[in-house]
Symmetry: C2
Subunit: 365 residues, 2 copies
């Protein structure tokens, strides 16, 4: 049997405590089912900075490169607010994305039936929501040059960031969105600000052409990103797949995630291009939520997003579809049974701890 | 008595029909109260393009410059989707903002009590909401250079936009936000992406310093813009004044406006710096909603955002505070009385037309 090489990068804040719950699952799968996962561990973010002054080490980058998949927790926190820009916690994550060329970030925004009350939106607006945001992850204003602060003298500085998109970058992310739409409701909404940004003009043009040339069976809409944000709030169920650039994807996927009331539940996956020989895609899986420093170390974190990220990993990186489905079913069962961490509990309702939630999922798995 | 010079730029879509309702109010104030408004009119956006091939003419720019205030409707629509970038409808609006140096855009997101049902959010989340987004309007990725599409050959193009902020631009918008906070709940939340953008690092630094030097009596928070979008959806009442750059302000203010369910009700104001001699600020007032081409010409548009923009104009450009309050009271009365245009009506409820709504406000004014 093939070995399955996993790199775990728990990171900061609630990253380690949620990753611990995934480690239990992996242990169980290895022991009881001989799943053969080989686990490496590494440091990223503020904890890496504290250990050796960089937000990810070359050794850990090499491990990421050698792994079949990376499981990532979360990075950042006020503790590192004043460290230098190049070694800030987020730099580790951005380097992983860029060096592994993980250009396609999939962020499902799903409202778990048992949780539609946890949303700030009205039940009929949010119930049954199941949309997928496909975010470009290695381009745009995140990585374009120049990106700098210039001293202009006289107490004046200038901050500069550059949004850059090339045709091929837009083509490949659009392709991912259209392919995924075919497995869903067959509808893509592309969002940009073509009325203000030249990269938006190009984005719109390339998505339109890619659609016409290869995916005209899929329904395609274009929306300005600000109007898209509005429509997400007004009636999110109008969408199936949303495709957008790195920065709009960051904003819109966070808004979409929060709409569901299930932020602590939502996984994400980031993929590279398929390898020419093996067909394998480099992949990193991470919860949509952040490091939540305010609740870290207290056993309050919801481990489900991290566990659901592992389920995505089973499905997409190891073709273990049955196991992925079983794990997702276990999560749904636990919720149906009324188990709640504080983030998804009704006011004054009983709650369980991070590890109790993890154990409950493991039990039903 | 001083003359009061107003330039009306109705623009496209529902712009003209909503502006018509303001014209009635101005006519009434001139005739019955000798208000002395001198009205000029001009074209902007697609209608200007149709008339003379530019999205605003030099004559109309000169009129804007000579006016005490500009009332702006809305621009854009699918009709002009394929006109050249430089003469697209939005270019007229962007030129007005830039040439008049209207750097401070004030966007209140208010939930009118009579309308809390129109929101997609739960009543307790949205009821009583009253926040103010202060958006920088003449800088950032909207205007930075280079902004272009380069042909790279081999079918590849590159789209580039540049986000640029200088210290003084951040200082002056932060100053506006802090000043306004003092007249409200005394709290400012500054939003950027300092974990990804150098302009965000500078933004954070300058806001922090401006606060420490001049406004330490105001409470100041910093939030990453993506987290800010989430928090707006989760519990918007945690905010008082939000200050952010041009692009984040565009996204966040649209999300905030839609939260209220009162999009057709929300005005905005854009100000320049006070004139050294007269103390007057250049100003442009416009509804937050867009040109809504799908409903234009049908008498379905809600004129209240446009009328409320005129109320802001009375208050801020002409110091007619009593009249502004009377007009705002008239709007509230009309709503209390149950009058609804389709956008804010319950399903199957009776609705009034644009001009009926305008007349009803005028009657109570
Ligand atoms: C941590 C940060 C760099 C990151 C981003 O902005 O991409 C995060 O917000 C995300 O969405 O994954
Ligand atoms: C019409 C468009 C250029 C404009 C913007 O992006 O600023 C609009 O969305 C707004 O928010 O006023």
């Amino acid at each position: 049997m093939a070995t399955r090489k996993l790199l775990l990068l728990p990171g900061d804040g609630i990253g380690p405590e949620t990753m611990a719950e995934v480690r239990k699952l992996i242990g169980f799968m290895n022991e009881s089912h001989g799943a053969g996962f080989e686990i490496e561990e590494g440091l990223v973010g503020g904890s890496a900075y504290d250990a050796h002054g960089k937000s990810i080490s070359e050794e850990d980058m090499a491990k990421a490169d050698a792994a079949d998949a990376v499981l990532f927790g979360a990075v950042g926190g006020p503790k590192w607010d004043s460290v230098a820009y190049d070694v800030r916690p987020e730099a580790g994550l951005l380097r992983l994305r860029k060096d592994m060329e993980l250009f396609a970030n999939l962020r499902p925004a799903i409202c778990y039936p048992a949780l539609s009350d946890a949303s700030s939106l009205k039940k009929d607006v949010i119930e049954g929501l199941d949309i997928l945001i496909v975010r470009e992850l290695t381009g745009g204003v995140y990585f374009g040059e120049p990106k700098e602060i210039i001293d202009l003298g006289n107490g004046q500085k200038r901050g500069i960031d550059t949004q850059v998109y090339d045709t091929y970058e837009i083509e490949r992310i659009a392709g991912v969105a259209f392919e995924l739409a075919r497995t869903r409701q067959n509808k893509v909404t592309s969002m940009e600000k073509r009325n203000v940004m030249k990269s938006g003009v190009l984005w719109n043009e390339v998505v339109t052409r890619t659609h016409a040339e290869k995916y005209s069976d899929v329904a395609l809409d274009h929306m300005l990103a600000d109007a898209g944000g509005m429509q997400l709030v007004r009636w999110p169920k109008q969408f199936d797949v949303i495709v957008c650039d790195n920065l709009f994807g960051d904003m819109l996927s966070d808004v979409a995630a929060m709409l569901t009331g299930s932020l602590g539940m939502l996984p994400s996956a980031s993929f590279g291009a398929p390898d020419g020989k093996t067909g394998m895609r480099k992949a990193l899986y991470e919860p949509v939520h952040g490091s939540a420093p305010d609740i870290s170390g207290k056993g309050l974190a919801n481990p489900i997003a991290m566990i659901a990220s592992f389920a995505m990993c089973l499905r997409y990186s190891f073709d273990m579809v049955k196991e992925a489905e079983m794990l997702e079913k276990a999560i749904a069962d636990v919720l149906e049974n009324g188990l709640r961490t504080t983030d998804i509990a009704a006011p004054h309702a009983e709650t369980v701890s991070t590890s109790e939630m993890g154990d409950a999922v493991l039990e039903r798995f």
